[in-house]
């Protein structure tokens, strides 16, 4: 062929022409050399080849008898985690994974407080369509509560297709299982996940948020609640008001109760103004739907309670502990996209201020553009 007229200069390297020497007459030597290579492979193939630096030896893994070695980062299908001791699921149905999932296979509904009908930071129904999930691992990356992780189980073939729409019961795995299959990855996120879990557990009434299959834990929780109810009943017998703890029945606050509550809050605020420099106006949340507190039937009861709570908030704000009790969970399920990976552990004082600012900004933004992905 004519010399190629395309002289392209190559920085830091040479252009090497492949030597073909196809004009040399080969006396069948090439065939024998090829056979020699195959003979060496045949001879060597009677021992196993499991290392990276061997190019001879049988490298087949006889699958059912000999399980393949799975690295820690291996990801097949997502699973939900629940804490072994308390039995509480880590998931607080924040819908992040449902939003990020490219094939949109995750579907979930938020749990409701049976008494007041308020949303609770726990998940009621969680479905993953295993047949459409492509195990890309985005949900595990995006979950702020490390509730959803990628499993190492790959023997998922089944003949009945309906079982591939996996419900929460089949998805749940204990944290010990995940710690066993991905030790270093779990170690990194362990303490933050567990701390967030305690925060959420405290705000989960009744038996919501317990892994459904842990029947004995649920029974124990119910027994404990019943005991509280009985004990509160005697307290109630002593005091005319209905038992504060047991959430009797959920109904809206009547206007005057609301006013009383407002007064109580304002009183607490003035009490608080004295100790902390910046007035923690975040505490008296605007009377939008009250955080998941219980509704006291009588007016003074609510006021006293609100006062106690405000005091607690102030005490905690002062003590520098993360405002775990502050209603971090967004007001309601769907709206609001709290920054996905902004870690909550900022210094408490200006933390509350910034939170309020963000909430205001969100509210403003929500009115103008209805965009939500």
């Amino acid at each position: 062929m004519t010399a190629s007229p395309f002289e392209i200069e190559i920085p830091r390297g040479r252009v090497i022409e492949v030597q073909r020497d196809d004009t040399r007459v080969r006396w069948g030597g090439g065939l024998l050399r090829g056979m020699a290579v195959v003979w060496k492979h045949w001879k060597e193939s009677f021992k196993l080849n499991r290392s990276y630096s061997q190019i001879h030896g049988t490298f087949t893994i006889e699958y059912p008898e000999e399980q393949p070695r799975i690295p820690e980062a291996y990801r097949n299908m997502p699973i939900l985690l629940y804490d072994d001791e308390t039995g509480h699921e880590l998931c607080t149905s924040c819908f992040q994974c449902e939003r990020i999932c490219p094939p949109q296979v995750i579907h979930m509904t938020q749990a409701k407080d049976p008494a007041t009908g308020k949303p609770v930071p726990a998940v009621a129904e969680f479905i993953i369509e295993y047949d459409a999930c492509m195990s890309c691992g985005f949900c595990a990356e995006v979950c702020p509560f490390d509730a959803i992780k990628m499993d190492h189980e790959f023997e998922l073939s089944t003949d009945d297709h309906t079982r591939l729409t996996v419900h929460k019961e089949q998805l749940l795995r204990p944290i010990s299982y995940y710690a066993k299959i991905a030790p270093t990855m779990w170690a990194e996120v362990r303490e933050s996940a567990l701390k967030k879990l305690q925060g959420n557990v405290r705000r989960r009434p009744d038996v919501i948020g317990l892994a459904p299959q842990l029947t004995e834990k649920i029974a124990a929780r119910r027994a404990e609640l019943a005991a509280q109810a009985v004990q509160a009943a005697q307290a109630a017998a002593a005091a005319p008001a209905a038992p504060a703890a047991a959430p009797a029945e959920g109904r809206k606050l009547t206007p005057e109760e609301k006013a009383a509550k407002l007064a109580a809050i304002r009183a607490a605020k003035t009490a608080q103004a004295g100790e902390s420099a910046t007035p923690a106006e975040a505490a008296p949340a605007p009377p939008s739907p009250a955080p998941a507190g219980e509704a006291a039937p009588s007016a003074d009861k609510a006021a006293k309670l609100a006062a106690i709570r405000a005091a607690n908030a102030a005490k905690k704000a002062a003590a520098g502990e993360a405002p775990a009790t502050l209603p971090v969970a967004p007001a309601d399920g769907m709206a609001g996209d709290t920054p996905a990976d902004a870690p909550p552990a900022a210094p408490p004082a200006d933390k509350a201020a910034r939170l309020a600012a963000i909430r205001a900004a969100n509210a403003a933004k929500k009115q103008q553009s209805g965009d939500g992905s």
């Binding site: 830091r12 090497i16 073909r20 492979h41 190019i55 980062a73 291996y74 691992g137």
Partner: protein
């Protein structure tokens, strides 16, 4: 006397040796090919339309499915395109890890491409079995780092999803120790094989000027004697810090492309060794912490191209300011390398068509998108 009229032969789409679902309508006069009309689209999955409905990050796992042999290369091209669009820098260590992964996938792709081509010539899977063994080792490394063997989804905007696990580097060094022996053995098995010479020399010749006019790239272009390599022509990422050679062929036939691929495997090994020497330590950060994954790039467009094992793979993204790309175009090397197939096969025997197709080394996922 014995007048053989031209008859139409249909090779594919479920033919054993077309790589994926690809049909060729061949008009044959006796034994020689008169004309060939490629028919594809059997694997069209509406990739670019889906991409417009997904956010930038949600598209990343879909790019694995383009050229399902080199998911790392596809990720790299897409990540570079979005970073160029949104103006995200990538830390040093992430760049090195990216180059390491793409060069590993180049070795794996060439090992199996050579295996498939010889398999089409009729050798019963022996070179392919050797190629697959090396491919398995590299896939294990990918699985260790990214979590999956084929659909790695390892790149993120501004770096990679996770740093290399501790046992990655030692295993990689062990693999590099065995690689030259494997490449030499593959060459000893096939290079002087008289039967292979008869089936490969002078078959499917693509002259340089025709190659340029068709816009082919990668080993097919270099096989025709044009030393054009995107890593050298427009050094992206940290490729300007490594020295490696660009192998080119003389005639541009099947034998040249086969030798070019084998030589490129050696060059990739050289690059990986240099990467391992210059790899910055872990505190360099495997990802740019300030890079937001649900990126919302400013209005505008960007085009990023890399030297994927099959040729010049490019991603062209147009952003309208929202979280979803307005236009998402993939410049697939296999699709463009396939266009000169009719000219390359004309005049050769019917049995050569499959060998020429194997020497171009296409993957239908990338051609049909």
């Amino acid at each position: 006397m014995l007048q053989t009229q031209e008859l139409q032969v249909n090779i594919g789409p479920q033919h054993p040796s077309t790589h994926g679902v690809f049909r060729m309508l061949v008009t044959v006069d006796g034994e020689t090919v008169v004309d060939l009309k490629p028919v594809f689209g059997y694997l069209h999955r509406n990739h670019e339309q889906i991409a417009e409905a997904n956010s930038y990050l949600q598209n990343m796992p879909y790019t694995d499915r383009l050229d399902y042999f080199n998911s790392m290369a596809n990720n790299h091209a897409y990540a570079m395109a979005v970073e160029r669009l949104a103006g995200i820098e990538v830390p040093e260590r992430a760049e090195y890890i990216r180059v390491l992964m793409v060069e590993l996938t180049r070795i794996l792709n060439h090992a199996s491409a050579v295996g498939f081509m010889i398999n089409d010539m009729g050798a019963w899977q022996t070179p392919l079995a050797f190629g697959m063994r090396e491919r398995e080792k590299i896939l294990d490394l990918f699985e260790m780092a990214s979590g999956a063997r084929l659909m790695c989804n390892y790149f993120r905007f501004g770096g990679v999803v996770r740093d290399l696990p501790p046992e990655f580097i030692p295993n990689l060094r062990e693999l590099l120790r065995a690689l030259p022996a494997y490449i030499d053995e593959l060459e000893r098995l096939l290079r002087d094989n008289e039967i292979l010479l008869q089936r490969a020399i002078g078959i499917g010749i693509l002259p340089p000027e025709v190659a340029l006019s068709y816009g082919v790239s990668g080993p097919v272009l270099r096989g025709s004697g044009i030393p054009y390599d995107v890593r050298k022509a427009e050094p992206y990422s940290v490729y300007d810090r490594f020295d490696f050679d660009v192998p080119i062929g003389k005639v541009g036939d099947v034998y040249d492309r086969f030798l070019v691929r084998i030589e490129e495997m050696r060059q990739s090994k050289r690059i990986i060794e240099q990467v391992l020497e210059q790899l910055p330590d872990a505190k360099g950060g495997h990802i740019n912490p300030k890079a937001r994954q649900n990126v919302r790039p400013p209005v505008g467009d960007a085009y990023a191209r890399i030297e994927s094992p099959k040729g010049e793979l490019g991603f062209y993204l147009v952003s309208d300011g929202s979280t979803k790309p307005y236009r998402y175009k993939v410049r697939a090397p296999s699709f463009i390398n396939l266009t000169p197939l009719a000219d390359m096969c004309r005049g050769y025997k019917v049995a050569d068509i499959v060998v020429i197709l194997g020497s171009i080394d296409i993957v239908m996922g990338e051609v049909d998108r």
